[in-house]
């Protein structure tokens, strides 16, 4: 038999669910620092990211509560995805471009986005997409699944053509990796050798459809092979592995070695959104098992063992997070509705006569703001 091609896909994990280090040395005798990958300078570097993860938990639960009391529209929780989201965001430079789907608040906050804008968006106000604190070139939320992946490929192409040393990072889910736009992103990134990182957050479910119903592929990472991209599978609940995977992908991208597909193995601990009821389609057992592997516990254990974190710190930070989120919630709730003309004002750079006439009619009808 002659072989036309062969491939191997690596799996990355540093922190095991119990908070000990996976690695060639038995964890007890290992020098933690020695086992940490190049992406992590030292254990202390993980601390601010850990705090972001914790902040996210607070934000998430308060947003859900807000929705339940009718003060927010449908909301997509990020519970369980914190290590992946925060790690992706932390790996990026401001000049890079981020293309999210709809639940990567962890990455968006790392980019500087203000939590109130998350609430505005889910609260039915376009101004949530202004991203006042984040890089102005970042993409808005993207509802049509995985179109952001291909859009990011276009952004990466623009970087390459203009010889800018920038990387485009896009995120979709396991379901999103079935979408033709995802494949188009893989294909174009390979064809043009683009500085693109395609992050597939495999949380086991696309609303009610389990990962195994999406594709016959053993891994989602291997979809990158279809375009000759670098492929990697990662424990997405392991912040260290996430950071290292992203570091490698960024390095490749910046060196002109092309794009990557990274599959982050994690789990959606909440319903798909507040409009969903996951009990209809998945068992409690599965969710219980997943809670044992969630990203927060292991990192807390690791940092505590390293003497970098303790209960008092945690209590204080949770309190502080709660206050910060409340400020954001209030800012959101106090933002007045846009005037009716806002629906016309950003449609065109040059407003056509008909649109202008309709704008005037709408103002006449609804009253001037």
């Amino acid at each position: 038999m002659t072989t036309a091609a062969s491939f191997e896909i690596e799996y990355l994990q540093y922190l095991k669910p119990d908070g000990t280090l996976a690695g060639p040395l038995p964890p007890a005798v290992a020098d933690a620092a020695a086992l940490l990958p190049p992406a992590v300078a030292d254990a202390a570097a993980l601390l601010p990211l850990f705090k972001q993860m914790l902040f996210l938990r607070t934000f998430d639960s308060k947003a859900i509560a807000l929705q339940r009391t009718g003060k927010l529209g449908t909301y997509a929780a990020c519970l369980g995805h914190e290590a992946t989201h925060v790690g992706i965001g932390a790996s990026m430079q401001p000049e890079d471009v981020f293309a999210p789907s709809y639940r990567e608040y962890g990455a968006q906050f790392a980019r500087g986005m203000r939590p109130r804008e998350v609430l505005m968006y889910w609260g039915g106000d376009e101004r949530g997409n202004l991203l006042t604190g984040a890089p102005a070139h970042d993409y808005p939320w993207c509802v049509p699944i995985s179109t952001q992946m291909l859009m990011a490929s276009g952004a990466a192409l623009s970087f390459k053509l203009r010889k800018q040393n920038r990387v485009a990072v896009a995120v979709c889910g396991d379901g999103g990796s079935s979408k033709t736009d995802f494949y188009a992103a893989v294909n174009s990134a390979g064809a043009y050798q683009l500085p693109l990182v395609l992050c597939v957050v495999n949380n086991g479910w696309a609303i009610s459809v389990p990962r195994k119903a999406q594709t016959g592929a053993e891994t989602l990472a291997q979809k990158g092979l279809a375009g000759g991209l670098h492929c990697l599978q990662v424990d997405g609940n392991d912040l260290v592995a996430v950071l290292e995977a992203m570091r490698r992908a960024h390095e490749r991208a910046r060196k002109g070695e092309g794009g990557s597909v990274i599959e982050f193995m994690t789990y959606r601990l909440h319903d798909h959104t507040t409009a969903d009821d996951a009990r209809r389609y998945r068992g409690e057992d599965e969710v219980k098992q997943a809670w044992l592997k969630e990203p927060f516990l292991r990192l807390r254990k690791f940092l505590t063992d390293a003497g970098l974190w303790d209960e008092a710190q945690e209590k204080a930070w949770i309190e502080e997070s709660g206050k910060r989120v409340d400020v954001e919630i209030n800012a959101y709730l106090e933002t007045p509705v846009q005037p009716v003309e806002a629906m016309f004002d950003y449609l065109y750079g040059d407003m056509p006569a008909d649109v202008l006439a309709q704008r005037e009619a709408a103002i006449a009808l609804e009253g001037r703001a």
Partner: protein, 333 residues
């Protein structure tokens, strides 16, 4: 296959859809349902609730998350003798299906001189007004109304939802079946599960009137009927027509009404310019010119994207806007 008992209690529009799906799944084994989350989850709106348990995963198929895939598989199955009923989860996710619908579904019969056909239905929750996120509130029927070979159907009551969906599934050609999600659960009606289809390609006159013809479809039927009530209170007699099948259009029913009233107000949710209301107004201008006492009026969404939900109700046609338009028409005589 045992006959279902007549449904004893009134049901909502979406329940009528489930009932029609179940009826046709029972009576025609070539019918399959496919889409995202239509299986054990029963659809994000519960339109397929219970069907997976009743008919199994080989009749009710969850698909991979890709609308191109759904459209392509649907056309592939339909052209090989099955009758797939596909679901697009929301209006705003239909666009990747356009290629297969326009290039294959609408043309298979014509292209092969009748050798292969494409009896399929694409169901899609349609339109705004439910405080949903972006892309979940679009009135995009006009994407399909200039495409020959298709039927574009929109029910506006539980009974019509049932009867028209049965007709759509039985139709030998592709039907885009748009479900006004805003009125999915708005009211209940007795809908006997008797398997009786209602005719496609006809407009339904929902209210007789003498002074002005109000033409609409989908969710706006509700506001239009309410407007007619209000107008009646002011002594204006409005005829209300539910177009129901947009294409092929039953214009004679509209023409007859306009001949009687001399005034035509068209109400729809989509943006005004080149919305399907334009076709109706055009036909009036071509065929009813000398019947008209007043200029045609269109009460529509504005020529911009439907805003996120804080502003969306200001975008949509309302009872007041319809009443005002009818009164403008009444000012001529």
């Amino acid at each position: 296959m045992s006959a279902q008992p007549i449904t004893p209690a009134p049901i909502t529009l979406i329940e009528a859809i489930t009932q029609a799906l179940a009826y046709e799944l029972r009576s025609d084994e070539s019918v399959v349902v496919l889409g995202e989350d239509v299986g054990v989850n029963g659809g994000v709106f519960r339109a397929t609730a219970g069907l997976s348990a009743q008919f199994g995963t080989e009749r009710i198929l969850d698909t991979p998350l890709d609308e191109t895939t759904i459209a392509g598989l649907t056309v592939g199955m339909a052209s090989q003798g099955m009758k797939p009923v596909a679901e697009a989860q929301f209006d705003g996710f239909m666009y990747p299906m356009v290629d297969f619908i326009v290039c294959h579904a609408a043309r298979m019969r014509n292209r092969t001189r009748g050798r292969l056909t494409c009896p399929m239905v694409l169901r899609v929750p349609w339109g705004g007004g439910i405080r949903a996120p972006e892309h979940h509130s679009e009135a995009n029927e006009s994407i399909f109304t200039n495409v020959p070979g298709l039927r574009v159907v929109m029910p506006s009551s539980p009974q019509r939802a049932y009867g028209l969906l049965l007709a759509a599934i039985r139709d030998p050609d592709p039907v885009i079946y748009m479900e006004p999600k805003r009125i999915y659960r708005q009211y209940k009606e007795l809908v006997p599960d008797d398997g009786e289809a209602l005719p496609l390609d006809v407009c339904y006159v929902l209210r007789d009137g003498a002074d002005v013809t109000l033409v609409t479809w989908g969710a706006q039927v509700k506001e239009t009927l309410e407007a007619a009530e209000k107008l009646a209170a002011e002594g204006i007699s409005a005829e209300v027509i539910d177009v129901a099948t947009l294409t092929p259009l039953d214009f004679p029913t509209i023409a007859e009404s306009v001949a009687k009233t001399g005034r035509c107000v068209i109400v729809h949710e989509a943006a005004k310019t080149a919305g399907f209301g334009a076709e109706i107004a055009a036909r009036v201008a071509e065929e009813c010119l000398f019947d008209l006492l007043a200029p045609v009026e269109r009460v529509t969404g504005y020529d911009t994207h439907i805003p996120l939900f804080r502003l969306e109700m200001k975008y949509l046609p309302s009872v007041d806007k319809i009443v005002a338009a009818a009164k403008r028409a009444m000012a001529y005589s």
